[in-house]
Symmetry: C2
DNA sequence: GAATTTATTTGCTAAAAGCATGTAAGTTAG
DNA sequence: CTAACTTACATGCTTTTAGCAAATAAATTC
């Protein structure tokens, strides 16, 4: 597993195994096209015609990776059945813009609905949590394989809810242990801070933002009060796997926005010299480094830093 | 979106859209079978023969949902090429058990490897984070759609390490909120217990077991000291998705074993009347219910119970 | 305006896969 | 123990699916 080449090979095997599984699974789930009025390819073609704006035959052939001659033949069949009509293009006399007729739409809809109904029935049989996990996972795969479909936001900011504090604690513990060699006592400290946050939570003065991606917590930021007019930013983190999306910047901005609207006049935060990426985010967000002191904690030596900015 | 029926319908549409996308995507990715020695179906068939133990033609036809006649014909082709051999069954003279010959294995391997190599090359082109997200998402889908394949590795017990306390806290918070309606203050309580455990950790007197499965924490148990001769079992949990594997029983046994070897003479634990499954585990592990008192906490009314056993 | 390119159609063909029937081996009712 | 039925696989025949290559017609380039 440590050898990158063999890891890649086993990933490839897993990938293909999934594909094999999925295609056969879907084959079993899709209503039987055997003997039905339209084949699966015809169905796809109709779908594309319905969901594009006046496509041409060539466009469909290219998009679906189907032989143009075959597409032409299938379209002829649709025309014979009165499902589509082909309007000559104003600019180019060779191409013909295709669209479903009323009759085509009426014929296609029930076929499409029937297939969807089978899928819906299947989904309804799943536990609600599984259903959303399934669709999230599908969106994830789609987002990775098909960059043209940026499928909604790559991440989501939301307030905290049960399970989040633990996730934030776990992420801090793992991250700081892996990257900076902190020992377990750091995770204990974070756990206490999180517990204090919950027990003393005052929505007017405190706030927590959780960054979520693929159903998992990938970032957080907390705002608590240092004194009457000073807010304190705490526990900012972004998971390694979600970096480069601007999540850290966004969380910091949201924290500042909240602090301002809650009436604080200054904001302070505590960090240290080894957290290079975080320092950069703070600097760009308008914080200044105002004090330093050496610190031995969590089994590591570092320089603790205080940063501040006016709001 | 608030209407459950229309939500289900849109989920179904998303589900099918993904399937459409994925099958066409995979079709494009698989090496071109056009003109190649074997068709995709032949490839699947060879794969099934290689990965089953002496399958029969009928078995393959049923599993792959392919016409028996067609399967028979394809098998004949394989036999003609010397790729498979058919041994008559001892019990039933009609059936013939199939297996790859050496030559068949040698012919199949490169085809299979080539397909895997294409997949590997594709995966190598992805960002490393995307690759792991992709495979995780695939495993998620597979786990939901195909519960019969609950991954090879059942589970693993190990001591705690960075990130585990947070995971345990998160699991408690989520689980008790979902199943019993506990509010956030419960998660804060668990966080404090976990923090205290780490800060006061004494390997001779305390212990923590983490149950891990597919790289995630799916269960835990803690042993701390109540007094000189009494051990206290705490924070036993098993994730919903890992139930039925005997993890709860196993964790409890390990906790008892540790307590005994650490020299404790009694073991006590605190639970409540609504945790039916946990109570059953404690009962079977030899604990007796010795005291009850009503409790209002975490936004819920319950009856707190103390259980004990000698070691 | 001839040559070339592009969008679509059509003739031909091959592969893929199903249906119906056949055959031999096994099972069961009388 | 046989006749009737069932099961597992094989074969003949056919349909469906889909590709290649050449044809046609409009558009573009030289």
């Amino acid at each position: 597993m440590s050898d990158p080449a063999s890891e890649l090979a086993s990933d490839a095997a897993a990938f293909r195994q999934f594909s094999r599984f999925y295609t056969s699974y879907i084959g079993a789930l899709e209503p039987d096209h055997q003997g039905s009025a339209v084949s699966l390819t015809e169905m796809r073609l109709l779908y594309e015609i319905a969901h594009r704006d006046g496509p041409t035959a060539g466009e469909l052939s290219a998009a679906m990776q189907v032989d143009p001659g075959y597409v032409s033949r299938l379209l002829k069949g649709f025309r014979d059945r009165g499902w589509i009509e082909a309007a000559p293009d104003a600019a180019d006399g060779r191409v013909r813009r295709l669209s479903l007729t009323e009759h085509g739409r009426a014929s296609f809809a029930p076929m499409y609905d029937r297939a969807n109904a089978v899928a819906a029935e299947f989904l309804a049989g799943l536990a609600p949590g599984d259903r959303s996990r399934l669709l999230t996972a599908m969106a994830t795969i789609r987002g990775i394989l098909d960059p043209s479909e940026p499928s909604a936001a790559p991440y989501l900011l939301r307030p905290h809810r049960p399970g989040d504090m633990g996730a934030v604690i776990a992420a801090h513990g793992r991250l700081y242990a892996d990257e900076y060699g902190f020992d377990l006592s750091f995770e204990a400290l974070v756990a206490r801070i999180a517990a204090d946050f919950i027990d003393g939570f005052d929505p007017a003065r405190h706030c927590c933002w959780i960054a979520e991606r693929d159903g998992g917590v990938v970032g957080s930021v907390f705002v608590v009060d240092a004194d009457e007019t000073t807010a304190k930013l705490r526990m900012l983190f972004v998971d390694e796997r979600a970096r480069g999306l601007g999540i850290g910047k966004r969380l910091t901005e949201e924290a500042i926005r909240f602090a301002r609207s809650a009436g604080y006049r200054r904001m302070t935060l505590w960090t240290n010299d080894i957290l290079i990426a975080a320092r950069e985010i703070y600097r760009k967000a308008g914080f200044d480094h105002v004090a330093s002191e050496p610190l031995n904690a969590f089994g590591v030596s570092m320089v603790a830093e205080t940063w501040e900015r006016d709001l």
